[in-house]
């Protein structure tokens, strides 16, 4: 049994299972498809990689403020949180069940704890398919009730999982969290160190860190890396109800923002903040 972490504990020091238990109302944590079901990836062992008994995703039912809830927590320490066939199916299947419930008027509040480098490379195509299913399920579900994402750190949230974060109704981040389509090392590898020096921590966090993401309106709440603060922010997001317009539905708004940029200038974090200061955007 996973005992909930006391208030004051750093959220990023907890495992995925402990994070899920820490967010839910005390005593309500109940894991589905847990380690003893041994639903592990069939693709890792043949490739010489040690599998995990939960494939790095924890599905936890419970309650938030007395309302039914489900937390999907990605374990960033297992394979960098990479999503494979099984871990992806656990997330997509849970969201699809929550959607079916919502369509019947039964709400189960979905929370996604996103710590992931993206698709697990050993399962490339199957991971891609699973993440596409996750995206579709989030978009369908968010018209019924908020889908809340948390990017606490320390892995960050990248690739297809970052798109899942972008599709959420609300995203909560810490200063330590990072959210971006390509991770800094990938950008450096593909475009050269002149484009982005992934060793430059200040530059990296100024570009994709939690504080910057909130300041530019890409993310909704910046919270301390602390159990009580994150648990509170998740509940506040559900209390707010679904946004009037989802961020990812505002295509014209963001196209206009991009069109207004001079790409000959090298933009940095502070310059982007000045340019994209969050104006509420009808949300």
């Amino acid at each position: 049994m996973t005992a909930p972490a006391p208030t004051g504990t750093k959220f990023t020091e907890l495992s995925a299972r402990e994070r899920a238990a820490a967010l839910l109302d005390p005593g309500t944590f109940r894991e589905l498809i847990g380690p003893f079901e041994r639903l592990e990836s069939p693709h890792l062992e043949p490739q010489g990689v040690v599998p995990a008994s939960d494939d790095g995703v924890v599905v936890a039912r419970g309650q938030l403020d007395g309302e039914e809830a489900v937390v999907l927590a990605v374990e960033g320490l297992f394979q960098g949180g990479g999503i494979g066939e099984v871990s992806g199916a656990k997330i997509a299947g849970t969201l699809e069940l929550a959607l079916r419930d919502a369509e019947r008027g039964r709400t189960v509040r979905p929370v996604l704890l996103l710590e992931s480098g993206g698709i697990r490379l050993q399962e490339a195509n199957l991971g891609l398919l699973a993440v596409a299913e996750i995206h579709a399920a989030i978009v369908a579900l968010r018209s019924h009730l908020p889908v809340v994402g948390v990017v606490a750190g320390m892995v960050g949230c990248f690739g297809g999982v970052a798109i899942a974060g972008g599709l959420c109704s609300y995203v909560i981040m810490t200063r330590e969290g990072r959210l971006g389509l390509n991770g800094p090392q990938v950008i450096e590898q593909e475009a050269g160190v002149a484009e982005l020096d992934s060793e430059d921590r200040r530059l990296v966090w100024e570009t994709i860190g939690g504080e910057q993401r909130v300041a530019t309106g890409m993310v909704d709440a910046l919270v301390e890396d602390e159990v009580g603060a994150i648990a509170g922010a998740v509940r506040t997001a559900f209390d707010a109800g679904p946004p009037v317009v989802h961020r990812s539905s505002q295509v014209e708004r963001y196209e206009a923002r991009l069109a207004g940029m001079d790409t000959l200038d090298q933009l940095d974090g502070p310059a982007l903040r000045a340019l994209w200061r969050d104006d509420g955007g009808g949300r």
Binding site: M1, S15, A16, G34, P35, F36, E45, G48, V49, V50, P51, A52, S53, G56, E75, L77, F78
Partner: protein, 97 residues
């Protein structure tokens, strides 16, 4: 990676089951359940090849000190012998709670 199997004599049955740890760098996960017979059975899948003797020594010492008829699965990502022993002790403690 390498898969290793070990058996140890045991007489005390384990009542519960426990899962502890994460398959992350320098750590391991342990799944502990009651054994189907009066022996301890341990299956280790480890990312670090060539440490069979060390595993045997660590597990031999643990089961010499803890008489447990348990079925144990270990998924290891390069944990040190100290970490392995601590995780095993944690699993035993959790199985009793």
């Amino acid at each position: 990676m390498e898969t290793l199997n070990f058996d140890f004599p045991a007489s005390q049955t384990v009542s519960g089951r426990a899962h502890v740890g994460v398959v992350g760098s320098g750590d391991l996960e342990v799944l502990l359940e009651p054994s189907p017979d009066d022996q301890a059975h341990v299956t280790v899948r480890t990312s670090a090849d060539g440490f069979e003797e060390i595993w045997e020594a660590v597990l031999d010492r643990f089961f010499a000190r803890n008489d447990l008829a348990a079925a144990v699965e270990i998924n290891d990502s390069g944990a040190t012998p100290g970490t392995v022993t601590l995780r095993l002790a944690q699993a035993v403690e959790e199985s009793r709670s």
